[in-house]
C-alpha cells in the first residue's frame, strides 16, 4: 500500500483540523506508513463481488413518529460552551470560506 509523504500527512492533519507540532508530524509520517504497511494482506484479499458490510447487524432503518419532545433548556444547551454571548455560542471570526 501507499507510502505517505510529509505533505500528505499535513493535508490530512488540515482536513482533520489537528494542529501538529513538527516532531508529531515526523513521527506520524513514520507510524502511519508502518501501520499501512502492516495492512498489506488487505490489498491482496479477493473481495470481488462482495458487498461492503456497513452495519454489524442487518436491520432496516426504524423511523420515529413526527412527535415533538421538550427542548433542552437554553442553559442546558449552552452549559458546556467554552464561550457564549448571552444565549448563543461564541466563536472567532470565520476567515476561511465555508466549505459546503
Amino acid at each position: 500500500m501507499a507510502q505517505l509523504s510529509r505533505t500528505e500527512v499535513e493535508e490530512i492533519a488540515l482536513l482533520a483540523r489537528l494542529h501538529l507540532e513538527p516532531d508529531e508530524t515526523t513521527r506520524l509520517e513514520t507510524e502511519l506508513a508502518a501501520i499501512l504497511e502492516s495492512f498489506g494482506a488487505l490489498a491482496a484479499a479477493n473481495v470481488e463481488g462482495i458487498a461492503p458490510m456497513t452495519h454489524a447487524v442487518p436491520v432496516d432503518l426504524a423511523l420515529r413518529g413526527d412527535q415533538v419532545e421538550p427542548s433542552l433548556s437554553v442553559d442546558d444547551a449552552l452549559r458546556g460552551a467554552p464561550k457564549r454571548a448571552g444565549d448563543v455560542f461564541l466563536v472567532p471570526a470565520i476567515v476561511t470560506g465555508k466549505s459546503e
Partner: protein, 495 residues
C-alpha cells in the same frame, strides 16, 4: 465489596445490610485502595448516598425493589451521566457535565443500582492497556506493575479489586473481554444492537457495544438482563425480545458442540495461556461437550480491516469535538486556528493517530482501496462465522495471546494493535462474546477463555461460561490488591 450482585440483592432484601452501609464500605475501600490502583476518574459519593437512602427507605416501607437495588456499580467513563463529569478519558472533555443520561444509565437507575463513580479508560476507548488514558494509568489488581488491559481497564480493575460489585464497560474490538481476562473477571460483549448505544460516547459506531464486567457469569447475566432491550433512540438497536438469561445458566455443556478455530491456536500464544486453555478444553470434553475443529479462514484479515473501519468511523465521530459547544477550547487567530489548536491540544497521541489514519482511509481516491475494501473483508469474516456456526453452537478461543503485560511493553502502536487480534473479529461480525476466567499462568496471572456465539445467542455463551467458571473455581483475592488492604476482607467470597 467482594460480594456478587446475587449476594447483595439477597442481603438487602433480607435486611441483613443496608444500601447506605454498602456505600460506606465501598467508599472506604476506594479511599484506601484506589489512590494506588487508579481505577476511578470520578466518584459520586453524594449521588450514591442519596440513592442508597432512597432504597433503604423503600425497603423499610416494604415497597418493591428493583433487580439491582442497592448494588454499587461503576461505569466506564465513556457512558454519559447527567450532571456527573464524563470525560471518555480525554482532556478534550475535561469538565464537561452532560445534560442527559445514557440509556444504560437510565436502566441502571430504574433498577435501583447505586452508581458510585466513573472508571478509567484508554482515551475514547482507543487502546488495550488503559495506558492511553489522558489522566492516569490504572494498575492490574493481580500485579501492580502490570496493565489491567483496556480500554475498559478501570471497570475491570474496580471489579477485580472489589471496589464495586459490578461495572459496565464498552467493547469496540475487545475492550470488555481483554481487560476482564487480564483482571480475572467476567466480561460480556453482547450482540451488536442488543444494548442501546444512546449516550455511549462513540468510538466506532458500527462496532461499539456496552456490556457487563462482573465477578460471576450469573452476575453478567443479571446485569445484561437489566440493560438489554430495544431503545427507539438508537436506530441500530434491535427490536428483539430479550430472553431470560439466568434460565439456562445451570444447563451445563453436555451435548453442546464447541468449535475450536484452528486460526486462533497457532504460533505466538503464551505457553501459560495455552496450557490454561487446553485444560479447559479437556474439561469441556469431559463434561459432555463435542469439540469440533473449525476454520475461520479470513481471520488474518480481521486486524487490518478493524484498524481501518474503526479509525475511519472514529475520525468522523470525533469531528464534533471542536471547542464550540462543549469541552476544551484553545483560542487561535481565527476559527480554523481555534479548531486546530483545540483538537491538537485536546486529543492524545493515540487518538490523533487514529483520526489521521481514519481521515486518510476516507479520502476521495483512497476510499475504495481502504474503507470500502475493509468493509468487504468484514463481510467475508461474517461469512466465515455463519459457515462455522452451521457446525458448532459456540466458538472457543483465547481472549488474548498473553496475560497482562507490563507498562510500556507495547509502546509501538502496531504491537498494541496485535493485543486485540483474537477479540476484534467478534465486533466486525456483530457477534456476542464472553470472557470468562479459566485458569492461571505459572506466574499466577489470570487467563480468560473467549466464547463467541451466534447473533443474539448470549444465553449459550453464559451457559458455557457458567460451566467453565464452576470447574475453574477462581476465588482468590488478587494478590496485588491484597497488599493494599489494611485488614482482611470480611465480605462473602464469590461463588
Amino acid at each position: 465489596m467482594s460480594a456478587t450482585i446475587a449476594d447483595v440483592t439477597r442481603r438487602i432484601a433480607a435486611g441483613e445490610v443496608t444500601a447506605e452501609g454498602l456505600v460506606d464500605d465501598a467508599f472506604a475501600r476506594i479511599g484506601t485502595i484506589d489512590p494506588h490502583l487508579g481505577a476511578f476518574l470520578a466518584l459520586d459519593e453524594r449521588g450514591a448516598r442519596q440513592t442508597a437512602r432512597a432504597i433503604d427507605k423503600a425497603r423499610s416501607a416494604n415497597e418493591p425493589l428493583g433487580p439491582l437495588a442497592g448494588v454499587p456499580i461503576a461505569l466506564k467513563d465513556n457512558l454519559v451521566t447527567k450532571d456527573l463529569a464524563t470525560t471518555a478519558g480525554s482532556r478534550i472533555l475535561e469538565g464537561w457535565l452532560p445534560p442527559y443520561d445514557a440509556h444504560v444509565v437510565e436502566k441502571l437507575r430504574a433498577a435501583g443500582a447505586i452508581i458510585i463513580g466513573k472508571t478509567n479508560l484508554d482515551e475514547f476507548g482507543m487502546g488495550s492497556s488503559t495506558e492511553r488514558s489522558a489522566f492516569k494509568p490504572t494498575k492490574n489488581p493481580w500485579d501492580l506493575s502490570l496493565v489491567p488491559g483496556g480500554s475498559s481497564g478501570g471497570s475491570a480493575a474496580a471489579v477485580a479489586a472489589n471496589l464495586c460489585v459490578a461495572s459496565l464497560g464498552t467493547d469496540t474490538g475487545g475492550s470488555i473481554r481483554q481487560p476482564a481476562s487480564f483482571c480475572g473477571v467476567v466480561g460480556l460483549k453482547p450482540t451488536y444492537g442488543r444494548v442501546s448505544r444512546w449516550g455511549v460516547i462513540a468510538y466506532a459506531s458500527s462496532l461499539d457495544q456496552v456490556g457487563p464486567i462482573t465477578k460471576t457469569v450469573a452476575d453478567a447475566a443479571h446485569l445484561l438482563q437489566v440493560i438489554a432491550g430495544h431503545d427507539p433512540r438508537d436506530a441500530t438497536s434491535l427490536p428483539t425480545a430479550v430472553p431470560n438469561f439466568a434460565a439456562a445458566l445451570e444447563a451445563g455443556v453436555d451435548g453442546l458442540r464447541i468449535g475450536l478455530p484452528r486460526e486462533y491456536f497457532g504460533e505466538g500464544i503464551d505457553p501459560g495461556v495455552r496450557a490454561a486453555l487446553d485444560e479447559t478444553i479437556e474439561a469441556l470434553r469431559a463434561n459432555g461437550a463435542t469439540i469440533v475443529d473449525i476454520s475461520l479462514p479470513h481471520t488474518h484479515l480481521a486486524l487490518p480491516a478493524y484498524y481501518l473501519v474503526a479509525p475511519a468511523e472514529a475520525s468522523s465521530n470525533l469531528a464534533r469535538y471542536d471547542g464550540v459547544r462543549f469541552g476544551k477550547r484553545v483560542e487561535g487567530v481565527d476559527l480554523l486556528d481555534m479548531y486546530k489548536r483545540s483538537r491538537g491540544a485536546g486529543f492524545g497521541p493515540e487518538v490523533k493517530r487514529r483520526i489521521m489514519l481514519g481521515t486518510y482511509a476516507l479520502r476521495a481516491g483512497y476510499y475504495d482501496a481502504y474503507y470500502k475494501r475493509a468493509q468487504q473483508v468484514r463481510a467475508l469474516i461474517k461469512r466465515d462465522f455463519d459457515e462455522a456456526f452451521t457446525r458448532c453452537d459456540v466458538i472457543f478461543t483465547p481472549v488474548a495471546p498473553t496475560p497482562a503485560f507490563a507498562f510500556g511493553a507495547k509502546a509501538n502502536p502496531v504491537d498494541m494493535y496485535l493485543a486485540d487480534v483474537f477479540t476484534l473479529s467478534c465486533n466486525l461480525a456483530g457477534l456476542p462474546g464472553l470472557s470468562v476466567p479459566c485458569g492461571f499462568t505459572k506466574a499466577g496471572l489470570p487467563v480468560g477463555a473467549q466464547l463467541l456465539g451466534k447473533p443474539l445467542d448470549e444465553a449459550t455463551l453464559l451457559r458455557t461460561g457458567a460451566a467453565i467458571e464452576r470447574w475453574a473455581d477462581i476465588t482468590e483475592t488478587p494478590p496485588g490488591v491484597a497488599t493494599l488492604e489494611p485488614k482482611p476482607d470480611q465480605g462473602t467470597q464469590p461463588s
